[in-house]
């Protein structure tokens, strides 16, 4: 059932043989993942999926009519979550609301560092600043990414220059907005180095709030050993872990990119602290992500055409307290190593499976590839009778076995009897044929026609 290129998609696709179209200006893992699904690119309006930039959303989205099956990868007002100042505003507002209702959950809303928006809150900030004479503070422009314009300071006179610059005058309507945050000076260190963690959450609806969390993610390390001393405060390679900054460092190694997979972190932590501590930590990371989403749930403009793949940047300190640094609506899908590319293409392929323009999902799945459904109106947790963990974050992503080339549910990785060992190795013998000849299988539904990897609600 092919359709002429100039007409928009009508009705629900009835067979897998239909051609799907995508439109995007990105040429990295996004492009790769879509091509591998067998989708075709289009410049026109006949797309089924438009992977857009945020500017397109604010400029064009409102003015066009979309068919029921068309999808775009942003929500209209995603900046409520993703702009640093608005995120903090929403978090504070939600916390106050919970406190008014005397909901004990309010206490859990302490996962962002003390933050003020400048220039507006400057006076408030100074009052607070004086209470913490030994703290460092970090200044971040809200509108910029990749670590640009960020700097650290300890004394007010260090930002005097910034303040006196006419561009940042509070009266100036075009003044660039900054957030100033109390810097987390005791991050958890591995081998003496600071790192933050990028996690991926896919939201397919804010009403009901439907959230899928990817089990994997990565840790971005700084290339120099961490130090709290004042002389090194301006050393951005020590304190800022963005890859764009790290790339400038002398010790940056382009082969590894200074990144660890979440599983490496988990193995490292488990050897030192045991399962319970690590599970609590990872669960806290999952809960923190959910709390961010709860705070914007009611103000996000929900739209059935919209979904969004967020990149959450989190950090934890040496007492395992989790902080959210920021949320990205357009997390980078470029890759600097092969492993990185594989992770991102796999992640995107799973995301496209979930968004399900092709109409293959049954609707009762709780895991698709590496994504677990963690919220759908209500929280969804791993079954406590069968799982040792309270979150699947950091857990192994089972290899999905393709039973046949037709669209059937394929996962056989769960089963308790000892003989499964034989079956597993036997069927993985034949199942891994497709991914063989040295090319690692994506393991999580990288093939366009597979429905592998569906764990269903029981």
């Amino acid at each position: 059932m092919s359709k002429p290129p100039s007409q928009p998609v009508q009705g629900k696709p009835s067979s897998a043989a239909r051609v799907f179209y995508f439109r995007t200006t990105f040429r990295n893992a996004i492009y790769e993942a879509l091509k591998r699904r067998g989708w075709k690119e289009t410049d026109g309006d006949n797309w089924d999926l438009h992977w857009t930039e945020r500017e397109w959303m604010s400029e064009v989205f409102d003015s066009i009519h979309l068919s029921p099956t068309q999808r775009v990868n942003h929500f209209r007002n995603q900046r409520e979550l993703c702009r640093k100042d608005l995120m903090v505003k929403n978090l504070k507002r939600h916390k106050r609301q919970l406190q008014k209702e005397q909901n004990p959950e309010a206490d859990a809303y302490s996962f962002w560092p003390l933050t003020y928006v400048l220039p507006g809150d400057y006076a408030l900030f100074v009052e607070e600043f004086k209470k913490y004479p030994t703290s460092f503070w970090i200044m971040k422009p809200v509108g910029r990414a990749q670590g640009k314009g960020i700097f650290l300071f300890k004394q007010l006179k260090e930002i005097a220059k910034w303040k006196s610059d006419s561009r940042y005058n509070a009266e100036n309507k075009d003044a660039e907005t900054y957030v100033v945050q109390r810097y987390i000076s005791n991050p958890y260190l591995v081998a003496g180095r600071k790192f933050d963690i990028r996690l991926y959450a896919l939201v397919t609806s804010y009403n009901p709030l439907t959230v899928w969390l990817h089990r994997s993610g990565f840790c971005r390390f700084s290339s120099t050993r961490y130090s709290n001393s004042a002389t090194t405060m301006q050393d951005t390679t020590m304190h800022l872990t963005n890859v764009a900054i790290q790339k400038k460092s002398d010790t940056y190694d382009s082969e590894t990119g200074g990144k660890w997979s979440l599983r490496d972190l988990k193995l490292y932590l488990m050897s030192r602290y045991g399962v319970a501590v690590v599970d609590r930590l990872f669960n806290e990371m999952e809960m923190t992500i959910m709390r961010c989403l709860f705070s914007v749930q009611n103000i996000m403009m929900n739209d059935k055409h919209c979904f969004e793949l967020y990149g959450f940047d989190v950090l934890f300190d040496d007492s395992f307290k989790v902080y959210v640094i920021e949320v990205n609506a357009s997390p980078s899908m470029s890759a600097n190593t092969k492993e990185d590319m594989d992770l991102k293409v796999g992640l995107l392929s799973n995301a496209f499976d979930i968004v399900d323009i092709e109409g293959k999902m049954q609707g009762n799945e709780t895991r698709v590839g590496g994504f677990d459904l963690i919220h759908k109106g209500i929280p969804i947790k791993p079954n406590s009778a069968t799982s040792l963990y309270t979150t699947n974050l950091g857990c192994d992503i089972p290899d999905d076995i393709v039973r046949s080339s037709e669209n059937t549910v394929g996962s056989t990785t769960n089963g308790g009897t000892p003989k499964e060992g034989e079956e597993k190795s036997k069927s993985s013998r034949s199942g891994s044929k497709a991914g063989i000849a040295g090319r690692p299988a994506f393991g999580a539904g990288g093939r366009s026609d597979s429905r592998a990897g569906r764990k269903t609600l029981t």
């Binding site: 193995l267 799982s387 192994d396 308790g416 034989e422 190795s425 036997k426 063989i436 040295g438």
Partner: protein, 498 residues
């Protein structure tokens, strides 16, 4: 322990007694015990029970028990048959060639092995690597008093060594049978939380006992990540927690490394670390730690005194004061890939000292066997032959097919065995494999897993028509997705679960 010198017969008790004097900790503790018992306030006669409880209090019991156990094991290890002439020759040649290479690199640089390095030219190259070792082994001919046609001529190893057959392996590795729940397999299934909890509880009890054979038995079923640091130590006959003495000892080694540098040797170790660790996805944060560990290792004469085999020759250097020193003190020369043996431990242990002692223990019991040229069972040549014999018996069609496309299976499996799969498996899987190596105190699973991987990939390999295709299928990157236990179980116990 050099196997070429004849051993005077030792009785277990005299060995125990002499060891008790040699081990400073034990010696002191026994003195302390004696003092306590003689000068105890109660003047009751000393019963066996009171002595026992005094020993327990001092922490002597596990130490003595483990010492007695390791002595009884080493009785068994002692080899009585002389080495095969060709092998002995090859070993001497190999040691000599390393020695010569090292000296020639020194002279290329214009430096002596110790002393100020004023060389302008900083160029350096590895003295040897896995390939060189492989070549040295391949060259060993069949024993001359054998009829040439009787020699096995499908594999690369010409020596007629007897290797364990399938049923012997099934018996030896019976703990790995699928009817036994284990890590690497059962903890991933639904409903596994009870198993994990049980395993954890048993592990804690095992650690309280701190008895070597029990810890090893426990390790054979795979170790939960949280218990691995201590279980490995006990299996290697170390106290489960590191003590101040060990810390001091390690620091003294670091000092030695700083104060007196080995010119080419240190640089080679550092280069190995730099190249391999900085490029490793998992270990790059630990570059500094691993480098420190390898340099400290090279200063440790304990290694040469306590390793089951001495793999290389040290250079004897006469110092200005007339004394001679061995370079390196450990007797282990640097080669490309050596740090691979250390790296995985950086995800297991918190700090350098801990990494150091476990690595040293593993080297002296296990890795030295992978680097020595010997016909002894359990060492590299024997393991290679086991691999070839196994693959030939499990899948002769595959073996022949590979030969027909000019690929000797051992040429691919050699580095897997030599480097204990460190450059192939994902870290968690690697550690699950090492759990078994430590638990069985034996490297036999290395050729077994190698042959199992070949048979696992058999269908695809049979479709290849060139050596390059074979290499692509079996290249190290594709190993990242391998799960060790299912493959081992399928190979050892597959088909009918006999």
């Amino acid at each position: 322990m050099d196997h070429t010198t004849p051993q005077t017969p030792v009785t277990p008790s005299s060995a125990l007694l002499s060891s008790l004097h040699l081990d400073p900790f034990l010696h002191l503790s026994l003195l302390h015990l004696k003092k306590n018992l003689i000068h105890s306030p109660k003047s009751t006669p000393h019963t066996v029970e009171s002595i026992k409880s005094a020993m327990l209090e001092l922490g002597l019991t596990p130490k003595i028990r483990n010492l007695a156990y390791s002595l009884s094991c080493s009785e068994k290890d002692r080899k009585s048959t002389p080495e095969i002439l060709q092998v002995e020759q090859a070993r001497d040649d190999w040691k000599q060639s390393i020695y010569d290479e090292l000296l020639s690199v020194c002279s290329e640089r214009g430096v002596s092995i110790i002393g100020p390095d004023s060389a302008q030219n900083k160029k350096i190259r590895y003295i040897f690597d896995s390939e060189d070792l492989f070549d040295a082994i391949k060259r060993i001919p069949c024993s001359s008093n054998m009829n040439a046609s009787l020699c096995h001529n499908y594999g690369l190893i010409k020596l007629r060594l007897s290797t364990p057959d399938h049923s012997a392996l099934r018996t030896k590795f019976s703990e790995l049978h699928p009817c036994n729940r284990q890590y690497g397999m059962d903890e991933t299934f639904l409903g596994s939380s009870k198993f994990i909890q049980h395993r954890q509880e048993v592990g804690v009890k095992v650690l309280q006992e701190s008895y070597v054979p029990i810890s090893r038995q426990y390790a054979r079923y795979g170790i939960p990540a949280g218990l691995r640091p201590e279980i490995y130590r006990v299996c290697l006959n170390l106290p489960r927690r590191i003590g101040a003495k060990e810390g001091e000892y390690y620091n003294s080694l670091r000092e030695k490394a700083k104060n007196m540098r080995y010119n080419v040797v240190d640089e080679l170790f550092e280069m190995d670390s730099q190249t391999i660790i900085s490029n490793s996805m998992s270990f790059f944060p630990f570059l500094e730690n691993i480098t420190n560990v390898v340099l400290a290792f090279s200063r440790d004469s304990w290694v040469v005194q306590n390793s089951t085999y001495t793999a290389h020759e040290s250079i004897k250097y006469e110092m200005s004061d007339g004394s001679t020193t061995s370079i390196p003190s450990s007797g282990v020369q640097p080669f490309k890939g050596f740090v691979n043996y250390i790296a995985p431990l950086s995800l297991v242990y918190e700090d350098e000292e801990r990494i150091y002692f476990t690595f040293r223990g593993m080297y002296s019991r296990l890795w030295c066997k992978l680097n020595v040229i010997s016909s002894d069972s359990g060492t590299l040549i024997h393991l290679c032959k086991t691999f070839e014999d196994l693959l030939l018996s499990w899948d002769p069609a595959l073996f022949m097919h590979l030969l027909s496309v000019n690929v000797a299976p051992l040429s691919i499996a050699f580095t897997w065995i030599h480097l204990a799969f460190t450059n192939v498996l994902e870290t968690e899987q690697l550690l699950l494999l090492w759990d078994r190596l430590v638990g069985y105190d034996d490297l036999l699973l290395l050729p077994v897993l190698s042959a199992a991987i070949f048979t696992f990939r058999s269908e695809t390999l049979m479709c290849t028509s060139s050596a390059q295709e074979v290499k692509d299928i079996l290249d190290n990157n594709s190993g990242r997705r391998l799960k060790v236990m299912p493959i081992l179980q399928a190979a050892l116990f597959g088909e009918c679960f006999k």
